[in-house]
């Protein structure tokens, strides 16, 4: 049935980049799928995600007797370790490569190796030029993106939760500082909600610590922490530093609220490993990755943490946001 699905999809879609491999012949040979992780700290996260991915592949009905799942877990500072590992991989390229971060994707794209790629991205992959469109990537790669243009919605959530807030500090990285969609949304929120948003650039924890110690940061009524390089690399430290400010903070990940953050509005992507597994199944059946749509967030969640709301009145959220919250963490102290 899988081959039949592939035949149908091949018939229904054009294959721009030679993706029409022979599904019948391919189904007999053992295919190599490499799960590529690059980190400068630990191997554990990559190994844990790989196990999740393996389970999702089995759930998707891919016969693991015909597919060899391999983990390429690169640990080390900078791009050099990843570059060396990929150069070695290019000598015997896999049939499919899973690039588990934007960094991994860019490293693979700089390697002379032409294989179908499954990727994830936090920024908009169309704006980055990684794909032509979400519905039809147009190049031999697909995957999913966490990107959803909800910056204004984050600030609106902060405003609804804490109506007295006027001055908001935003912790951003170099990419967000230059992203027009981000700054446009920020300006829209400022104009519509009466907020004054100040950008604080911080590429790592030390930098964040420095900017939070400034007098300008001290004048902020509340903070906005969107997904950036620093929140991806050191989420726990970022949350701890921000929590110490005792000011309302809106995050773009619910997980931050579960770890002590104040409030979050997240465009969620359900079962990302399952998405990769389904897409892998189609690619192994002969469908070109260029014709498999990139999936995007499907559900939206508002999370509120009530810890400390009694001790600090400024951290007590409004009734309106509590009524809309889809997840409540902690409990108000009696």
């Amino acid at each position: 049935m899988l081959a039949a699905c592939a035949a149908f999809v091949l018939a229904a879609c054009s294959v721009p980049e030679g993706g029409g491999s022979d599904a019948g012949a391919a189904s007999k040979a053992v295919r190599r799928v490499v799960y590529f992780v690059a980190s400068d700290k630990d191997r554990e996260t990559g190994m844990r995600d790989f196990r999740e991915f393996t389970r999702a592949v089995q759930r998707a009905g891919i016969d693991t007797k015909d597919v060899s799942l391999e983990l390429l877990n690169v640990v080390g500072p900078g791009a050099e370790p990843a570059r060396r590992a990929l150069a070695e991989l290019a000598r015997r390229p896999p049939d499919v490569l899973v690039a588990t971060s934007q960094f991994c994707l860019e490293a693979v794209l700089h390697t002379p190796m032409h294989v179908p790629i499954l990727f994830l991205s936090h920024p908009d992959p169309v704006a980055l030029g990684d794909v032509v469109s979400l519905a039809r990537p147009g190049v031999d790669r697909t995957g999913f993106t966490f990107f959803s243009p909800v910056t204004a919605k984050h600030l609106e959530t902060l405003h609804d939760g804490f109506p007295s807030v006027r001055r908001v500090g935003a912790v951003v990285d170099a990419y967000l500082m230059g992203a027009k969609w981000f700054t446009d949304d920020v300006h829209l929120a400022e104009a519509s909600l009466g907020l004054e948003v100040t950008m604080f650039a911080a590429g790592n924890v030390a930098a964040l610590r420095r900017v939070l110690a400034t007098a300008q940061a001290a004048r902020m009524d509340a903070w906005y922490v969107p997904v950036s390089e620093i929140t991806s690399d050191d989420p726990d430290q970022v949350i701890a530093l921000m929590h110490a400010l005792n000011k309302p903070i809106v995050y773009s990940r619910v997980s931050a609220v579960l770890k002590g953050g104040t409030i979050a509005y997240e465009a969620r992507l359900e079962d990302p490993f399952g998405i990769w597994a389904r897409q892998l199944r189609l690619i192994l059946a002969g469908v070109s990755a260029a014709s498999i749509p990139v999936e995007q967030p499907q559900s939206f969640e508002i999370a509120v943490n009530l810890d400390g709301s009694r001790e600090h009145r400024a951290l007590r959220p409004s009734k309106a946001i509590l009524k809309r919250a889809t997840r409540i963490a902690g409990a108000p102290e009696n």
């Binding site: 049935m1 039949a4 699905c5 035949a7 149908f8 999809v9 229904a12 879609c13 469109s133 979400l134 519905a135 039809r136 959803s148 243009p149 909800v150 204004a152 919605k153 609106e156 829209l188 929120a189 519509s192 909600l193 465009a267 389904r278 897409q279 189609l282 014709s291 498999i292 749509p293 999936e295 995007q296 499907q298 559900s299 939206f300 508002i302 309106a320 009524k323 809309r324 919250a325 889809t326």
Partner: protein, 767 residues
């Protein structure tokens, strides 16, 4: 064991036929039962899923309607309240993506979104224009794909009686996929949903949905739409092909009437019919067992019956190989033992007959040996005769070749000699013509007339001999063209009418409109010979020249009232030099070549020639001609219609033979013409240069000196005079007949002065 095979065939045939009939009934019954059951199960499943989707839609409508019908316009609730209600709805229903309130003036009053700011200013227009709704009715738009990959649908609810506004919700259709994904039908069955324009809305494989696929081409969708349009219910079962391949499927569809969406539950036909196949395989297995049993029974029966028969067969084989002592001893006591006894009797009789036959064969062999010796003797004699005949045939072949060579030499001699003889004959003819016109005394004229008659007779003789020679020498090549037959008739009439009248005969030509396609000159000569012959052999009455229609073509007829031809000579008259005995001096004058020329010309042109005659009553000669059309009116020739005096005409004569040139020049001067002459075109042009007047006519020999021809001379004179001057070529050369130019007239030597004058007169009149 052939007998066993036959028994097996009969037994197994009956068994298989009976069993096949039984199996067929069983399979048909199983097929119908399975098809009906599969259809019912599919329809139930489609209905259940459709109802679940409808329940979800009902829930959306109910919840949104509950908010929409609140007393928004009474001043009790404001826009903030409405926004909070919408936010609550969105929080409770993940499928609701956006909500907005559209006022009576079509402005957005309240807007709540999952990705945009909850401000009316953030609202973009709905994907589909929302109609004005009465009461609190619901309206669904056509599904659309947000970001080109995610299906959404617009749901609008009227504000009810109290509020004149519309609440519009954008619903994420993924909730339909959730309903579909939960179900699995059979082992390879699948469930999917298409919208009212047959686009895939929900499918277990999300990538398919994201592609925004149009499935209108699938036959099950077309059939289901057509069938639902005809029936009152909203569930149907149809056949189609798989979404993935050409595999046939059974599909049942349930229509969600409020949206026009179809919920499909389909299964591969192989899966539906699997019980039928199992039943069929079982039947086939049973059939194989029955056939095996039939075979075993056949072998047992056949062995029992076959033993005595095989003994008879072995004895018959020995008998056939020449063992006439072969006998059988069966002792079965039944009909086969009787058969064995009969076999033994037959063998005894056969032995006796064989002895008698051997004696007869010996006698016959002796007789045949004697006959063979006689035949060998005769063969030797025949061989001797054959050798003699071969020698004679070789001799005959050699004689024939010599005769053919002699005949060819004769033809070449005549062809060459006739050319050389023509030149002096031509000169004599012209000079006699001059002499006749200069003589005044009666006696002298009679003498010249006799000389002229002799010359003309000699000319005819030469011409005939020349024609025969050319035809025999295969030197004549037909020059086929289209021409009106009447022109030929006019030419004949001009040449022979006077001759006929001088003899007191009536000469009549019946006009014709036929346009024929053949060689004009050869046909004219043939018909002329027939007419001349008719005049010669007719003393009273007349000659008629005309045509008859026959078999779609046309036949030229020459009818005379002459002496006729005896039937015994009808075939001989076409042979050379054949003449019917006659006491008439004129009739005796001919050489007997005219009809021979006619016959050979007809053969050359592939024209049928026929003659019929009654002695004392006359003859009819017929020549068939191919007709290509008809002129509107009989086209008369021009040759005899013009009679202009040639007196005063300015004539150029060119001939390299001084005698001929002198005779032609003298003759023309005698007729009152002004003449300049020369032995070549250049000489004639030099003489012409002394005259201011352009020449009226050119008369030239064909073959001039230095390889020049009369045609070149004519072209030179015409070019110098810058005028298309009429021209006559006079030549004894056979090849001149092949000139394919219609701007010159060719006359053959020896030339009758009267013919030259008539031709000159005609050309001058036409010019």
């Amino acid at each position: 064991m052939k007998l066993a095979g036959r028994y097996f065939a009969v037994l197994s045939g009956f068994a298989a036929a009976g069993f096949a009939a039984f199996a067929l009934v069983g399979v048909i019954h199983t097929y119908e039962e399975n098809e009906g059951r599969a259809s019912a199960l599919q329809q139930d499943e489609a209905r259940i899923l459709g109802n679940r989707i409808e329940t979800r839609l009902d829930a959306f409508e109910r919840q949104i309607r509950a908010v929409a019908e609140l007393p928004w316009g009474d001043g009790l609730l404001d826009e903030d309240d409405e926004r909070e209600e919408y936010r609550r709805l969105i929080a409770l229903n993940p499928a609701i993506y956006e909500l907005r309130t559209i006022s009576e003036d079509e402005s957005v009053r309240v807007f709540v979104s999952r990705v945009k700011l909850d401000r009316p200013a953030s609202a973009t227009p709905p994907h589909t224009a929302v109609p004005t709704l009465r009461g609190s009715s619901a309206w669904y738009g056509r599904p659309y794909f947000r970001n080109a990959s995610e299906p959404f649908v617009t749901l609008a609810i009227g504000g009810g009686a109290r509020a004149r506004q519309t609440t519009v919700a954008e619903l994420d259709v993924r909730f339909v996929t959730d309903v579909v994904n939960r179900e699995r039908f059979g082992s390879d069955g699948r469930v999917y949903v298409v919208d009212d324009s047959n686009r895939l809305l929900a499918h277990p494989e999300p990538s398919f949905v994201h592609r925004n696929l149009d499935l209108s081409v699938l036959p099950q969708i077309q059939h289901a739409r057509a069938k639902l349009a005809r029936t009152a219910g909203n569930t149907v079962t149809v056949e189609g092909t798989s979404l993935y391949s050409d595999e046939p499927v059974y599909a049942s569809a349930f229509e969600i009437t409020r949206t026009g969406w179809l919920v499909f539950v389909e299964q591969p036909r192989d899966e539906v019919l699997a019980p039928v196949a199992a039943s069929l395989y079982g039947m086939l297995g049973l059939l194989a067992f029955i056939l095996l049993l039939a075979f075993a029974v056949s072998v047992v029966i056949a062995r029992k019956l076959a033993r005595p028969i095989l003994e008879i067969q072995r004895a018959a084989t020995r008998l056939g190989r020449g063992d006439l002592q072969a006998r059988v001893n069966l002792g079965t006591g039944d009909e086969i033992e009787v058969l064995g006894n009969e076999f033994n009797r037959m063998a005894e009789n056969l032995g006796r007959s064989y002895s008698e036959l051997e004696q007869r064969v010996d006698a016959r062999t002796d007789a045949l040996a004697k006959a063979g010796e006689a035949l060998q003797h005769q063969a030797r004699e025949v061989e001797t005769l054959n050798e003699q005949l071969t020698l004679q045939l070789t001799e005959l072949g050699r004689s024939k070749e010599e005769a053919e060579r002699a005949n060819a030499a004769k033809s070449r001699f005549l062809a060459a000699a006739s050319h050389d003889l023509r030149q002096p004959m031509h000169t004599v003819s012209l000079l006699v013509g001059i002499l006749r016109e200069r003589l005044i005394g009666r006696d002298g004229l009679d003498l010249v007339d006799k000389v002229q008659a002799s010359v003309q007779s000699m000319e005819r003789l030469f011409n005939s001999l020349l024609d025969i020679t050319r035809l025999d020498a295969d030197a004549v090549r037909p020059n086929v063209s289209q021409f009106p037959l009447q022109a030929l008739f006019d030419e004949i009439a001009g040449n022979y009418a006077l001759q006929a009248r001088a003899k007191g005969l009536d000469f009549r030509v019946v006009p014709t409109r036929a346009i024929v396609r053949t060689d004009l000159a050869l046909l004219e000569r043939s018909v002329g010979n027939l007419v001349a012959n008719a005049i010669r052999y007719t003393e009273r009455g007349g000659i008629l020249l005309g045509t008859r229609r026959r078999f779609g073509g046309r036949i030229i007829v020459v009818v005379d009232t002459g002496v006729g031809i005896p039937e015994a000579h009808l075939d001989e008259i076409f042979e050379e030099f054949f003449q019917i005995d006659s006491s008439n001096a004129e009739q005796a004058q001919g050489l007997g070549l005219g009809l021979s020329i006619v016959k050979r010309t007809a053969v050359l042109l592939h024209l049928p020639l026929r003659v019929s005659s009654r002695p004392g009553r006359g003859s009819v000669f017929e020549i068939g001609v191919p007709v290509v059309g008809e002129a509107e009116t009989p086209q008369r020739g021009t040759s005899s219609d013009f009679a202009r005096t040639i007196e005063g005409a300015f004539v150029v004569v060119i001939d390299d033979e001084a005698e001929n040139r002198f005779a032609t020049e003298a003759l023309c001067r005698q007729w009152g013409c002004h003449v300049v002459s020369g032995d070549s075109a250049s000489a004639a042009l030099a003489a012409l240069a002394k005259h201011l007047r352009a020449p009226d006519l050119i008369v030239t020999d064909f073959r001039l000196r230095d390889g020049l021809t009369g045609l070149m001379a004519i072209d030179d004179v015409r070019r110098e005079a810058d005028a298309r001057i009429p021209a006559i070529i006079v030549s004894a050369d056979v090849a001149v007949q092949g000139i394919d130019r219609d701007d010159v007239v060719v006359l053959r030597k020896p030339l009758d002065p009267a013919q030259l004058r008539a031709t000159m007169s005609r050309l001058l009149a036409q010019h």
